[in-house]
């Protein structure tokens, strides 16, 4: 039997480390059935972490979810007794299992299956077969690019540019010193696809990058990883070491005359560094200020040499494409958007995690069929795609299919894969303000329009959520949006208005309620709401009063309590404290 504990970042956050340690200690003491203990990366079912996968002697998978340290004892006992029947209570439900079964995995094909720290696991699943095929069957640089072209692969980092086009440009660029760079800055706050790939299948990224380096003629490859991903960096470092030791990296790879080294550069916390030219500045040790384009990196990039930059997920698709042929990839998806796309599903969703589906799937299918719909049976309101550069898609447009152009028509974008679901209790004005706050802080300050424009917009939005909005504010926001779009140098500024424009487009009435009636329909904006206790629901337990930092709640035990609105600081503690749903917000 084999026990596999999911040790991705969210698994560890949910307590997988303690589960693993407990199992290891017990098995170490006595292991009558000779069970093997191993780890794996994120399988995408983050909402069920910690997860323990048990493969029995027939190789059948039994998946146990939300496993606690105490459950680990039971698992150990069952394994040792060679009788799993007592573990049924921990087994995944068919509903939850559907989350994975409904997916099609290409970029994530090994995530949650292999041990990311063991190169042999990767090799056993056709790992490094693609680079071997290229080097041993004499595929030329053009042959490789041709397959990528046939696959229709477009960049997964947000803009959706043709990968073959970029590779060809870099290959045809003059110069014998070229660089291949991977953008693992994953700046969209609310997205974690790239983290999962690096943590769960680092060799897949390495192989994809090797193929890219071969295709463009680079002998140095660099991964720029964001600083907040320490585990990803550790796993990638190990993978690079192992791949080098096996001859997949370094000089004369697999006996060919192709040589390539790969190194990691840790980012230092700046969203704008996800923009490719800013990323290059940062790689050179400077402030991450975007460069003027053209020249494009393919002509003049890192140290002004021809460079190709792709996103993690883009590279993660490449070995599969070479192994299965470009046509197999192109067989999935829509006319203009081929293959699959990974999304990080989060927010007010029942089943949050990583979802990889063929392009052409509807948003509704992802959110309701795979994600299981809204938590606590609330009403779906909107889904945010593309983070600070993207926008929200409302209920009426849930049947939009996942396709670069179709999503673009809604005012949102495909983005890199962030998919944050919002329900009736999310205030869209506050959401717009949230993103503007982010972009205003992250603007590098180079362009006046971006630096001051986002600040001005933030001021207006701040007034609106405080109930001090004025007639004409919406129009003022729109005007600022268009001015910033036109005046900004880089994508950060050019797309910063998107979250505001889409919320105005679909939720104008919510803006108006704030401005004209000083009312927040979602009940979120602190300055516009009051807390009170529903006398009919309150049982007088005093739990809320004990949690109130302002001592605003008083009452006699066993009779309804009351909140003094003048003292209330609107911290929300009482809502979480009350087990009877008696605290209400208006």
């Amino acid at each position: 039997m084999k026990l596999v504990v999911g040790e991705g970042s969210c698994g560890l956050a949910a307590g997988a480390g303690a589960v693993y340690d407990r199992l290891a200690a017990l098995l170490n003491e006595s292991n009558p059935t000779g069970a093997v203990l191993d780890i794996t990366g994120c399988n995408g079912m983050c909402f069920l972490e910690p997860i323990v996968d048990l493969y029995d002697d027939e190789g059948t998978l039994h998946r146990y979810v939300k496993v606690t340290e105490k459950d680990a004892d039971d698992i150990y006992a069952a394994v040792s007794a060679n009788d799993l029947s007592s573990l049924d209570r921990l087994g995944i439900t068919p509903d939850d299992a559907h989350f994975l079964e409904a997916q099609t995995r290409v970029a994530l094909r090994d995530c949650g299956i292999i041990n990311p720290e063991n190169i042999d696991d990767y090799i056993a699943r056709d790992g490094y077969k693609a680079i071997e095929k290229i080097l041993k069957t004499g595929m030329t640089q053009d042959d490789v690019i041709e397959q990528i072209d046939i696959s229709g692969l477009r960049g997964r980092g947000g803009a959706g540019f043709s990968t073959a086009f970029k590779w060809r440009a870099a290959k045809n660029s003059e110069g014998d010193e070229k660089y291949l760079i991977c953008n693992a800055d994953e700046g969209d706050p609310g997205a974690f696809m790239d983290r999962a790939v690096i943590e769960g299948d680092p060799h897949n990224l390495i192989e994809g990058m090797l193929i890219g380096a071969y295709a463009i003629g680079a002998s140095t490859a660099i991964v720029y990883v964001r600083a907040e991903y320490p585990l990803a960096i550790v796993r990638l470092e190990k993978a690079i070491k192992d791949a080098t030791a096996r001859g997949y990296l370094g000089d004369n790879i697999l006996g060919s005359d192709f040589s390539c080294v790969l190194r990691i550069k840790a980012g230092a916390g700046a969203f704008v560094c996800g923009e490719e030219t800013a990323l290059i500045e940062s790689l050179e040790g400077k402030r991450g200020m975007p460069r003027l384009k053209p020249p494009f990196p393919a002509q003049s990039g890192y140290w002004f040499k021809p460079s190709n930059i792709n996103n993690v997920e883009t590279y993660a698709n490449v070995p599969w494409i070479i192994n299965n042929g470009g046509a197999a990839f192109a067989a999935m998806g829509t006319e203009q958007s081929k293959g699959t796309k990974v999304f990080a599903l989060s927010g007010k969703i029942k089943r949050g995690g990583l979802v990889e589906i063929p392009m052409g799937t509807t948003l509704r299918d992802v959110i309701f069929d795979i994600g299981g719909g809204i938590r606590n049976d609330k009403e779906f309101k909107a889904v945010q795609l593309g983070g600070p550069s993207g926008g929200c898609v409302p209920k009426e447009k849930l049947d939009t299919v996942i396709d670069y152009a179709e999503l673009g028509k809604t005012g949102a974008i495909m983005g890199s894969g962030g998919m944050v679901v919002m329900d009736e209790s999310t205030c869209m004005v506050s959401m717009a303000k949230f993103f503007l706050d982010f972009t205003a802080k992250e603007s590098c300050g180079k362009c006046v329009h971006c630096r001051l424009g986002t600040k001005r917009m933030l001021e207006v939005l701040d007034r609106i959520v405080k109930g001090q909005g004025e007639e004409g504010d919406i129009e003022k926001l729109e005007e600022l949006c268009y001015a910033i779009k036109d005046g900004a140098l880089c994508g950060l500024g050019q797309t910063a208005p998107n979250p505001v424009l889409t919320t105005i487009r679909y939720f104008r009435d919510e803006f108006e309620a704030h401005i004209k009636e000083q009312r927040c329909p979602a009940g979120e904006c602190r300055d516009l709401i009051t807390y009170s206790i529903n006398k009919d629901k309150c049982v007088g337990c005093s739990a809320c009063a004990r949690q109130c930092p302002a001592n605003a709640i008083t009452g006699e035990l066993k009779s309804p309590f009351e909140i003094d609105a003048d003292l209330c600081v609107k911290c929300g503690n009482c809502i979480t404290a009350c087990r009877f749903g008696a605290v209400e917000v208006h």
């Binding site: 970042s9 969210c10 560890l12 956050a13 949910a14 983050c46 909402f47 972490e49 994953e186 700046g187 969209d188 706050p189 609310g190 997205a191 974690f192 983290r195 600083a227 907040e228 991903y229 320490p230 550069k265 840790a266 980012g267 230092a268 916390g269 700046a270 969203f271 940062s282 050179e284 040790g285 400077k286 402030r287 991450g288 140290w303 990080a344 599903l345 989060s346 927010g347 007010k348 949050g352 995690g353 945010q384 983070g387 962030g418 944050v420 679901v421 919002m422 959401m431 949230f434 993103f435 982010f438 590098c444 949690q547 930092p549 600081v569 911290c571 929300g572 503690n573 979480t576 404290a577």
Partner: protein, 164 residues
């Protein structure tokens, strides 16, 4: 707490030796310096400038551009509170308020006893388990104001017993 004048510059000598002749490694040097001292002491910045032949102003320019770098020492336990989209939607603001209420510190501040600092960060990559915070490399997920207070009290208790 580390006084600014007692910085032992010898601690970063190996780092400078390794990187001083590699162009473009200023950020890596600063990262390792911060890993050594917990922040970027003024003396260290001037020392790096001298060894690498970079203007101190350039180093300050880089250090202030990136959110990761700190010019002041931080508390023993650095609370990195996620303010990403998923955490925002799931009530990160209430968690922040709970921390402020519990410890009397806001984003970027340190408690008087030097035990805790709070920093708002963009996303810790555990969005499906939001709201999330990370303290000294350990991630705490699906927080409620209550759960968050308990974590803080536990750390304070381990640290000081009666006076906490």
């Amino acid at each position: 707490m580390a006084e600014k004048t007692t910085v032992d510059l010898g601690l970063i000598a190996p780092v400078l030796e390794e990187y001083k002749d590699t162009p473009g490694s200023l950020i890596a040097i600063l990262q390792k310096t911060q890993a050594t001292y917990g922040y970027l002491p003024e003396e260290a910045i001037y020392h790096i400038a001298e060894v690498t032949g970079t203007a101190p102003a350039t180093i300050y320019g880089v250090a202030t551009f990136y959110a990761q770098f700190r010019l002041e020492p931080v508390g023993k336990h650095l609370i990195m509170l996620c303010q990403g989209t998923a955490c925002h939607v799931n009530g990160a603001e209430l968690i922040s308020a709970a921390i402020t209420d519990e410890l009397g510190i806001d984003d970027g501040e340190t408690t008087e006893d030097g035990l805790f600092s709070m920093e708002h960060v963009a996303c810790l990559g555990c969005c499906s388990l939001s709201p999330v915070m990370m303290i000294n490399g350990k991630t705490y997920s699906t927080l409620t104001p209550d759960k968050c207070r308990k974590v803080l009290r536990e750390i304070a208790k381990e640290e000081g017993g009666a006076d906490a």
